[in-house]
């Protein structure tokens, strides 16, 4: 079966777009409140666990002498990775003018910001003395002491905070025209909120010109930032001398893994939003197919980099590296390793099958599998090296305690909670960009229809010739 369908219905009226998106922000249904309640419950678990851990000490997490890091750091890397999808969709694809990204980039970008907000917790939670956290920052101190600029952890502090602020600004800037639409259609507290946030957007030419420039500039700024952030996160491992960590290919491997897990998460949220908000018009099967293809490509890159890592370990003849690799594949953690290989390298072939990738429930399950694989990947990077490095006297294996689980579990609740709030407060589909996309697609239509449609659109108070 060959399907050659359009990414979006070009006949859609612009008023319809506004109406559909604004509808999604209104009247939360009971299911929404249930979801919020679940998320809050999950966060509460984490908060309780953290209070307990704070009072008792980190020992309650089962961390021990070789295993100084465990799930917290794995989860941290996981969430950082998750954040890359938004940048990929909104910035990279924006620059290369892949306009099919337009209906789905907004929530992906929100995902970026929220997963960074989630990731940021983990270095804090895992610190022994969280109250001294600010020592990582280079502030002018009475004591004349500075952080250690050689440490990848202090790079992390810079990288993550920069990335978080940049992506938050990017998300916000990109939302301003839509916030103006919301402002024009809102009442009560929302009106006040959107009025403030839309910064007096009127949609005149000067505003649009400046907006374009700013947006493009931020996009250009964000791309190297995203790449560097995950490279720096990989430096947490690669800069060490531990076998299995000290790997040259870690930066691209981490970036690929990050894009991978991010894309998988986009598929998951794609399906959820499409179903709950009835966004079938915008989040079309065609776009899903494109997303799937992209994900598949990234999956193959990741698989390739994985193989490179194994191969270079193998022909590198570093006995310690080799031992760790064999330990990963055959030791007590082997089930995790093979699950990771299955989920990361085998499961994505489902994306290559057209029939499957057009089937939303299947894609939902597959995307969850992919992310499970990617979580395991992070964990497999952290734990086995610690379990088996140089000193055999300290070859312990360890699994995290319930405290670690609770906090990791809660992080998903936290992310979910932020996302749930977002979708009801902000438009999760970019209205103006969808209109743009539709406008571009109409070019090949006959002139009359286009003008006709355009005129109607103008009725909604939005100029049809906005930026061309």
């Amino acid at each position: 079966m060959h399907v050659n369908e359009k990414d979006i219905n070009e006949q859609i009226r612009w008023a319809q777009i506004n109406a559909d998106v604004l509808r999604s922000m209104e009247n939360p249904r009971p299911a929404y409140w249930v979801a919020v309640a679940v998320c809050i419950a999950m966060v509460s678990c984490a908060v309780l666990a953290e209070i307990y851990q704070y009072n008792e000490g980190l020992g309650v997490t089962n961390l021990n002498n070789p295993h100084m890091w465990n799930m917290y750091i794995a989860t941290f890397v996981f969430w950082i990775g998750m954040s890359h999808s938004g940048t990929l969709l909104s910035a990279i694809l924006h620059i290369i003018h892949a306009d099919w990204r337009k209906p789905i980039y907004r929530f992906a970008e929100a995902m970026t910001t929220f997963s960074l907000l989630t990731a940021g917790f983990f270095p804090l939670i895992h610190l022994g003395r969280i109250w001294n956290l600010y020592w990582v920052l280079p502030y002018v101190s009475d004591r004349g002491v500075w952080p250690n600029f050689r440490s990848p952890l202090s790079w992390d502090a810079f990288a993550i905070s920069t990335y978080l602020s940049a992506s938050a600004v990017f998300l916000y800037i990109g939302m301003i025209p839509d916030l103006a639409i919301c402002r024009d259609n809102a009442k009560g507290w929302r009106k006040a909120l959107y009025t403030t946030l839309s910064l007096g957007w009127r949609g005149d030419d000067r505003q649009w010109r400046n907006f374009r420039k700013t947006y493009m500039l931020l996009a250009c700024f964000l791309i190297p930032l995203a790449v560097s952030v995950h490279s720096i996160v990989s430096a947490d491992f690669a800069m060490s001398i531990m076998p299995g960590w000290h790997v040259t290919t870690f930066p691209p491997y981490f970036v690929a893994g990050a894009l991978y897990s991010g894309c998988a998460a986009i598929i998951t949220l794609f399906v959820i939003l499409r179903y709950f908000f009835r966004f079938e018009e915008y989040m079309t099967t065609a776009i899903m197919e494109k997303t799937c293809k992209l994900t598949f490509a990234i999956a193959m890159v990741w698989t390739y980099l994985n193989l490179i890592e194994f191969a270079s370990t193998w022909y590198g003849h570093n006995i310690y590296d080799k031992e760790v690799l064999i330990y990963k594949a055959t030791g007590p953690y082997a089930w995790i390793f093979w699950t990771m290989i299955f989920c990361g390298s085998v499961a994505p072939f489902a994306l290559a099958i057209q029939k499957w990738r057009r089937h939303m429930p299947t894609m939902f399950v597959v995307s969850l599998l992919l992310n499970l694989g990617m979580y395991f990947e992070r964990w497999m990077i952290v734990a086995p090296t610690l379990a088996m490095s140089y000193e055999p006297h300290q070859f312990y294996m360890m699994y995290g305690s319930i405290v670690q689980w609770a906090i990791v579990f809660g992080s998903f609740g936290w992310f979910g909670l932020l996302f749930l709030i977002f979708v009801k407060v902000f438009p999760s589909v970019s209205m103006y960009e969808v209109k743009e996309m539709v406008f571009h697609r109409r070019r090949h239509l006959d002139h009359d229809t286009a003008v006709n449609l355009g005129r109607r659109a103008r009725d909604t108070g939005k100029p049809a010739t906005e930026s061309h």
Partner: protein
């Protein structure tokens, strides 16, 4: 106290870092441990507990791998495949090796671990924020983390035994063998008060002092006349870069440093165990 400070120190620091750390050492404390006479009796380890305010973690936490023995005696069996271990056990007293190019130092985000001018790998407890990266990057796994507030576990009056010369560590702080820095500092202060330099044998670590067989020799490896320097020289073990170092003239000499191939330049030389074939 200013940006001037950071700029000035930064360039000096950067140069030092590129050239492999300090080059103006006052002393370089080191050890030689003769594994042939080490009987694995644990006297050193207990002496370390007594000297350095080490907490006793109890059975459950020991089982979890959270024990705090700065000096641990590792015990290996070399002929595990035979019916009986006919050549006895291999004992290895393992503590912080005070590496000259310590891998723990560059990774600490707040520089709580650094190299002192007397060649020690310092751990400043009150600067530590507990990121535990140093321990992850230690090939010897000799850094111990305060997973709990152990000072609460010294039941009165056991706490009266605590050595006032060093801090009692609270939860969230990394710690490790310091080569009994409080003794070094006290001896150093004493020498300075008398306007002289510290003499060989004037300062001993708790483990070296206790060791019933005298297997542990401690001293300044920069002083060519110290007992430890003589041992290092006798066994042709030199400090510094592993790769550029000339191979031993007599490769059969017993001295070696553990994980020397990682180029971490440990300050502890071990002498090989000897066994007679019967």
């Amino acid at each position: 106290m200013s940006f001037k400070n950071i700029l000035e120190n930064w360039s000096a620091f950067r140069k030092d870092a590129e050239a492999g750390g300090h080059h103006k050492y006052d002393h370089r404390w080191g050890m030689a441990i003769n594994l042939d006479v080490c009987t694995g009796c644990n006297a050193c380890s207990t002496a370390c507990y007594a000297e350095n305010n080490l907490p006793v973690v109890g059975k459950e936490r020991f089982e979890k791998g959270q024990a705090m023995h700065w000096m641990r005696i590792e015990r290996f069996w070399d002929d595990a495949d035979k019916q009986y271990p006919e050549r006895g056990a291999s004992y290895l007293p393992m503590m912080c090796q005070q590496c000259g190019a310590a891998t723990c130092e560059p990774v600490c985000p707040v520089a709580a671990t650094y190299h002192t001018p007397d060649g020690l790998n310092a751990q400043v407890y009150n600067r530590c924020i507990g990121s535990r990266y140093c321990s992850n990057n230690c090939p010897f796994r000799v850094r111990y983390f305060n997973f709990y507030s152990y000072y609460e576990t010294w039941a009165e009056p056991l706490n009266q035994q605590l050595n006032p010369d060093i801090s009692v560590r609270d939860k969230g702080v990394m710690e490790k063998c310091t080569f009994c820095v409080q003794r070094i500092r006290t001896a150093n202060d004493k020498a300075k008060m008398e306007n002289r330099s510290i003499a060989d044998g004037e300062v001993q670590t708790a483990c070296a002092q206790a060791c019933p067989t005298g297997a542990i020799v401690f001293g300044d490896t920069m002083d060519p006349n110290s007992a430890v320097s003589k041992l290092w020289a006798k066994h042709e073990v030199k400090r510094g870069d592993y790769l550029s170092k000339k191979p031993k003239q007599h490769p059969e000499k017993r001295g070696y440093r553990i994980f020397e191939e990682l180029n971490v330049d440990p300050s502890v030389m071990y002498l090989e165990r000897v066994r007679e074939e019967i």
